[in-house]
Symmetry: C2
Subunit: 152 residues, 2 copies
Amino acid sequence: MVQPINHEALGDELVRVVKLLHAARAQAPLPAGLDHSAYPILFVLGRKPHRVSDLAEEIHSDVSTVSRQVAGLVRAGYVDRAPDPDDGRAHVLSLSPSGRQIIREARQRRETWLSGLLADWTPDEIATFTTLLGKFADTLQNPATSTKEPTQ
Amino acid sequence: MVQPINHEALGDELVRVVKLLHAARAQAPLPAGLDHSAYPILFVLGRKPHRVSDLAEEIHSDVSTVSRQVAGLVRAGYVDRAPDPDDGRAHVLSLSPSGRQIIREARQRRETWLSGLLADWTPDEIATFTTLLGKFADTLQNPATSTKEPTQ
DNA sequence: TTGATTGGTTGCACCATGCAAATATAGGGA
DNA sequence: TCCCTATATTTGCATGGTGCAACCAATCAA
């Protein structure tokens, strides 16, 4: 071991960023009939259709919770529910055209927001930050040798 | 304008990291008598004593909510409540010794966790990531020219 | 002293969540 | 083919956390 690296600063910054992003998100305007829990669902469905149980797994929520959330989105017309042709018990959920429109707009708003926010960052900084953030996400997703869990 | 930078990738990674951090935190063991809402309060009080209303502002929660959370922490012995010498209506909340101990341990766990997680990152990568994350937090905290809000 | 203001707590209703029971369908043996 | 068990989903119910509003207590200005 050479010398201990200062992970404390990194931890602090992570907490700070998460907190600030949370605050920023709370300010964001929401399309009619949607609450914040809807976005994860719509984004996941945007990648590909899912069954309720798969969706629940993906979102880390209980199936019953997702079932209710989805019911709302179906009622609002953002999600289509079709019986699974292969399994009469299951339903296949997919984005409706207006659901697709919603996430397109959301993505657009996010991009605009980031553009303004990062106006005086250099392209190089942005690229590096994106890369490292991705690497960090990869590390989180697939912890190689880790054993412990975080706090706050 | 030279060429549009790909903020979409950055947005995606941000969402991904937040989501993964959230999942990781959900796994973390909690000291007796604490729930996750306690940590922000303890950390804020760790910096300096606060009154209930200031705490509420800091946490972005309603005063009544904070009042109840604090009551629990006082009951559990992590927070001391003293009448404000300058204002008989107000209380001054501060960390008790065991409260201080809790956040010391939490910080320690977080550091250990990060050490394991980043075991095969180079010191340089870690340093750069920390710096850029800090810069991003600064930008979020003090948006220079921005107008819009994020999504998801 | 009184009235208006501010700090804090408590009553109440609301909403989201998870567990468990209920329903419906699959699918694998007797 | 007929059960019996397992799985997908929905719904009933209880719980917990939240914010608003009413309330109590103390301050401050007139």
